[in-house]
């Protein structure tokens, strides 16, 4: 049970996750050929742990995560609007345990990069040959005057799913007709780029169906454009009376861009009033999505540099700062920062569950190859992200990235958003939007199982 040879490795790669071949547990007393530690049990971390184990059962894999249950952020907006039970978004770690991953419910306090040792709150010191850093994001509350973490029970962010999701739901359900629901969006990049606009859509859908038709959803955005903007505007027009950008429209949804007063700089928590340089807005239900950067542990270990995000080596997802640490998921920046409206931009990968999972699979394959002394496999990165905006109405964006000459290359031909119109300029038939609304749930079940199952 020592080294698998090259032939076996190739077979393992080819069989990938063929359960019979690869779920054979390592002999209890066999010495692990190498140790891999994964920090963070979200979509990225869980996938990395699972795939390292699948590709080489002889490697000892330990996943460290403080929570016993993970709640999916994708589709959690449907919980807020009353369209979905939060239980359908929750997963434990038994699936990974069954695959032979050690799951440690603990919090990582520090990483000694020179000695390759991880220290936890529970007092454990664990050494590693390779470390996967997938801590997600850390909120920065200080970009808005008067705002702080102590306010999140009253003014939820609902940007890490779970209790926060339910708090926002409860507030919206209690909001009377004619009330104002204000969503504050931070300067990008942030996780789930279309998320705030999906949230606005589903809130409007809830208001419409519950007879609270005089309610307003106002999005105060620090940015001047947003993900899937054309598609959202088209849907808002069709379903929620949206007319144009800016405050004061007759529709249920209003969107204010940063340059025209959308950038919130001040909060009066008592009256739930947010202010920009242009306007003061009093909300009945206020949802502030704080600015965010790479998770605390990535910053503490000096992997996230000046701009607050982790830079990576495109072939492997290894940190640009440390070849033994792989920084994946929302805490990393891969590719150039996104510039909306620039068709030639070599887009940064969006911070999504799906991208985190393909990054995790690339990292897992690279780690297993390195441990076995084999060449790095060619990486592939992909994303599919659905947004639900109303009954039987969904759309998506797809992204593909490859690595050419050691740098990320956005594959424009294999990417893009759902159509706004058919090639002959006729409207998109409703069946397209219905199909994508249905696919979103199928996608969710499969990503959850692919990561945690």
């Amino acid at each position: 049970m020592s080294q698998i040879n090259r032939r076996q490795f190739i077979k393992a790669l080819a069989a990938a996750t063929s359960v019979s071949a690869l779920s054979v547990p390592t002999l209890a007393h066999a010495k692990a050929k190498a140790r891999v530690i994964v920090i963070g049990g979200g979509y990225g971390g869980a996938t990395a742990a699972k795939y390292v184990k699948l590709l080489d059962a002889g490697i000892e894999v330990t996943l460290i995560e403080p929570n016993a249950v993970y709640t999916s952020c994708p589709l959690s907006n449907e919980v807020i609007s009353g369209h979905r039970d939060i239980k359908t978004l929750q997963m434990g770690y038994d699936g990974l345990k069954k695959r032979g991953v050690n799951v440690l419910q603990d919090l990582v306090l520090g990483v000694d990069r020179a000695k390759k040792v991880v220290t936890t709150q529970g007092g454990k010191k664990l050494d590693y040959d390779a470390l996967v850093m997938s801590p997600g994001i850390e909120f920065h509350y200080n970009t808005i005057e008067g705002y702080s973490e102590s306010l999140i029970e009253e003014i939820p962010h609902a940007w890490k799913a779970g209790e926060q999701t339910l708090i926002l739901k409860k507030q919206l359900m209690a909001m009377p007709d004619g009330g104002k629901f204000v969503i504050v969006v931070p300067k990008g990049p942030f996780r789930c780029p279309p998320g705030p606009y999906e949230r606005a859509s589903l809130a409007a859908s809830y208001f419409k169906h519950s007879g609270k038709t005089k309610c307003k959803v106002i999005i105060m955005d620090a940015n001047d454009s947003h993900s899937k903007k054309g598609l959202f505007n088209q849907a808002w027009k069709a379903m929620y009376g949206w007319e144009k950008d800016g405050l004061g429209g007759n529709g249920m949804i209003e969107w204010v861009k940063g340059a025209e007063g959308g950038k919130v700089i001040k909060l009066d928590a008592k009256t739930k009033t947010v202010s920009s340089d242009f306007v003061d807005l009093k909300a009945d239900v206020l949802n502030i999505i704080p600015a965010h950067k790479a998770g605390k542990i990535a910053v503490a270990t000096d992997l996230a540099k000046a701009d607050g995000w982790c830079k990576v080596v495109p072939m492997t997802m290894a940190s640009a700062e440390d070849e033994n640490i792989y920084t994946i998921g929302d805490s990393c920046v891969a590719g150039e920062m996104a510039l909306y409206g620039n068709p030639n931009a070599n887009f940064d990968m969006p911070k999504s569950a799906h991208i985190a999972m393909t990054q995790a699979k690339v990292a897992a394959a690279a780690i297993v190859a390195k441990i076995n002394g084999l060449p790095t496999p060619q990486p592939y990165y992909a994303n599919t992200c659905y947004s639900i905006v109303g009954d039987d109405y969904g759309f998506s964006v797809a992204h593909q990235y490859r690595v050419v000459d050691g740098t990320f290359k956005y594959i424009k031909e294999g990417s893009g958003v759902s159509p706004m119109a058919m090639p002959d300029k006729s409207p998109v038939p409703p069946i397209y939007r219905k199909l994508e609304a249905e696919y979103a749930d199928g996608w969710l079940r499969n990503v959850m199982a692919d990561a945690f199952g």
């Binding site: 790669l13 699979k361 394959a365 790095t376 496999p377 060619q378 031909e413 294999g414």
Partner: protein, 192 residues
């Protein structure tokens, strides 16, 4: 631009992959499909089809039809355009080699009886249970997700949705609207 890109891929592929195994590339690419189609191509989401164990001919035909624009899809037409024809063939072969894994969904006796009747027109090509296709180009239906099959039938019946297979279009449009879910549930309930 595209050719240059493909050349770069081919070269980097040769450099990194050829010494190990040419198939490694396709394996890595296939893993990006698991997000929607399930680990190993076996879906656990009702609206998403399992693709493991479908014939290489069928998979390749559908993907190439999406790429050429002959066949509509709400999202696959976009994704597939990022792959070379060789990669499409490679993916088809890769998933065809994995075992077909029916996910048997329970249905009442009544549904099964009505479904049997509603699917009589399907039998000559797909077999009585959907598990015995007459042709390499015909997909297995037994234990495929009923929800997905229902959505597929909806596509074939919708004049605004461009499908290719004439016989399927004709037959799907001849079906009674009420028979669509029943037929889908009938195939979803079959183990073989």
């Amino acid at each position: 631009m595209r050719n240059k890109l493909q050349m770069a891929f081919a070269l980097s592929g040769l450099f990194f992959v050829a010494p190990v195994h040419a198939g490694d590339n396709i394996e890595g690419l296939a893993r990006t499909c698991y997000g929607c189609h399930g680990t190993n191509g076996v879906s656990v989401g009702q609206s998403m089809p399992s693709i493991a164990g479908l014939s290489a001919d069928y998979l390749k035909t559908v993907m190439m039809e999406w790429k050429s624009g002959a066949r509509a899809s709400a999202n696959m037409t976009r994704l597939i355009s990022g792959y070379t024809d060789e990669e499409i063939a490679g993916l088809a072969t890769y998933f065809a080699k994995l075992p077909w894994t029916p996910v048997v969904q329970k249905a009442s006796k009544d549904i099964l009886a009505k479904g049997k009747e509603a699917t009589e027109r399907c039998e000559s090509c797909h077999g009585a249970t959907g598990g015995e296709p007459d042709d390499k180009d015909t997909p297995m239906l037994n234990g495929q997700w009923a929800k997905y099959l229902e959505l597929e039938l909806m596509k074939y019946r919708d004049e605004g949705f461009q499908m290719v297979h004439k016989k399927m279009i004709k037959n799907a449009r001849k079906m009674e609207a009420g028979d669509i879910p029943t037929a889908a549930q009938y195939f979803g309930a079959q183990s073989k």
